[in-house]
Amino acid sequence: MPATTSLNRPVDAIRRGDPPAPASTQPEARYLRPSTGWRAINVAELWRYRELFVIFAMRDIKVRYKQTVIGAAWALIQPIAFTVVGVMVFGRAAGVGTDGVEPAFLFYLVSQLPWMLFNTGLQTSSVSLVGAQNMLKKVFFPRLIIPVSAVMVTLIDLMVQFGLVLVVLALLPFLPGTSTFVPPLQVLLLPVAVLWTFVAALSVGLPLAALNVEYRDVRYVVPFITQFAIFAAPVFWPASRLPDAWRPLYGLLPVAGPIEFFRWCLLDTPAHPAMWAVGAISTAVCMAVGLAYFARMEDRFADIV
């Protein structure tokens, strides 16, 4: 027997009359070592656990509307209510305009889709790790799956809301003074808009989720962020109302670019390439920083949660 520090094997094996271990191929060694601080996300591991993204998302979706009366229709209440607020307050009273979208309620309704994806995604992902603390302490899987699948859940809401938008668009010709809706060519880019919004939500939610593990203050910060963002973001008003020189800078707000891009895709509102470019770069940088911070903190989650 080669030199190992196992004291007992020979004695024990003889005592029990164990057969010698089969000389099959030795699996590759994996090393569990102290945390190295800043490190990359382990993509191979994420890939191995890819099913878990969907499984966690499905769990939350199944659980979400259990024991509710109207079920998934809840996903529609908020955008409808906010559309009414948009028409009354921002359309009638403030008159901030809708980038020429007629009828005005279409502008407000469509704006709700990327906004709610961002808002709900940010809220659920930021509390997701603490909500899963028992799992963090008892079983291993890549922790990144938790906040990502939390945002994935909101995609279901988005689909339901998108159904509503389609119904509204189909009914438009029957409204007095409106014509048939013809989607612009860039409607094909809508998946990109959804993806961007998704990543934007995650880029903010991810570091907040990691921070929340150590500092529960995040719980109180997030509602503040979203209440602030609903006015700061172009949810109820178009970014074209901003001075041209400021608009690219405005793209730094993570949720501003996706909303404008989403509206452009579906409603052909004015394009703001400079603002989108700034927004896309800012989302990418936020995401990279968020991932790096997450990967650094990941090793300590079980110890401090």
Binding site: M1, P2, T4, T5, S6, L7, N8, R9, V11, D12, A13, R15, R16, D18, A21, P22, A23, Q26, P27, E28, A29, R30, Y31, L32, R33, P34, S35, Y49, E51, L52, I55, R59, K62, V63, K66, Q67, N134, M135, L136, K137, K138, V139, F140, F141, E214, Y215, R216, D217, D299, R300, A302, D303, I304, V305
Partner: protein
Amino acid sequence: MSSDLAIRFEGVGKEYHVGAAQSGGSSSYQSAAERLAGAVRHPLRTARGFVRRPPSETFWALRDVSFDVQRGEVVGVIGRNGAGKSTLLKILSQITRPTTGQIAVYGRVGSLLEVGTGFHPELTGRENVFLNGSIMGMTQREVRSKFDEIVAFSEVERFLDTPVKQYSSGMYTRLAFAVAAHLDPEILVVDEVLAVGDAEFQRKCLGKMQQVAGGGRTVLFVSHNMAAVSKLCHSCVVLSSGSVATHAATEPALSHYMAMTDVDELGKPIAINSPDRLEGELSVEAIGQDGDDWTLELQFKGFNRVPRLGVGVSVAGPDGVTIAKWRPFTTRLSLPTFAGVQRLRFTAPGLLRVLPKGSYTCGVWFAETGVEMLAEVERLARFDAPSSDVHATGVVPLHGTDGFVCTPLQLELG
């Protein structure tokens, strides 16, 4: 390197920070406000803290642990509460990282630190099998192919489409263990999971474990159940205060563990820590006899409130075999809801009259409303059963040689 090595621990250490907030009990994190308050009180220290983390109290849950596990070996990990068993398994399961050293692992690790991790009460039994299986590292295909076996093992076929919140705790445990039992890793890591469920189910779990162990799988098994350890394990690692005290074949390791003179001194507090459930300190005030009555006096300092906390006592012989066990489930002994200091005095009338002469240890355990075990402290204190000449012959019955119980015996001829 040996070709049949499964796991190699090399100088593994794990340091935990014990902050001021933590010793207070339930809150294990500091809010920014607490840090801010600290900053106001100690501006200089905080300023330094921004540069370098302030020195906080630390303790080493594991220290320089090195040992090898060969492929196909079934190794028991034993030790008292706080000896570092759970930390060892957590590091091996990749839940947390070591502070020093490294572990080389050859093969896929499946760990079972808890049954039913991630079970969702609103979901049905069927849905939870798939959810739980995936969380533990099975693919959906694997779960599907083993689904029938899992269901058969769990004996809850009829309730598969019922939300598990409506399950009895026994059904819940059976289903959860069934999933875990069908994990198929090369290296299986099992924490004290057999402590749950009824005796029949425990026997079944043990059988399953034996089957796994017999199948050439490498198993690391933590248990308080000495009978299970000696039945299942080829060798044992005895941990004491975070270090390896012995690593030897099961029998010598067990007897070494039993002989270890680390039964706590009276009055020395022992931390009870079942995170989020029960946290407190336990100390033995007195242990002794009152005629034939055996008495144990404890002081329990609870840090959090647990409604109707069930308490139990056990007595074990010098070889670690449990002789008497008063389970809260049967005795219905419980503490009223409280957080704070409480003195407990247990009396077992007549116990000393029936115990043969020998050196015994006693343990205490806590359970929630008599069902789920929250914490167990074994070998809490040692006591001697006095020589009792029950037969009035001058020859005193001895523990083991004369069995576990002695009473006078009469003979009548007719």
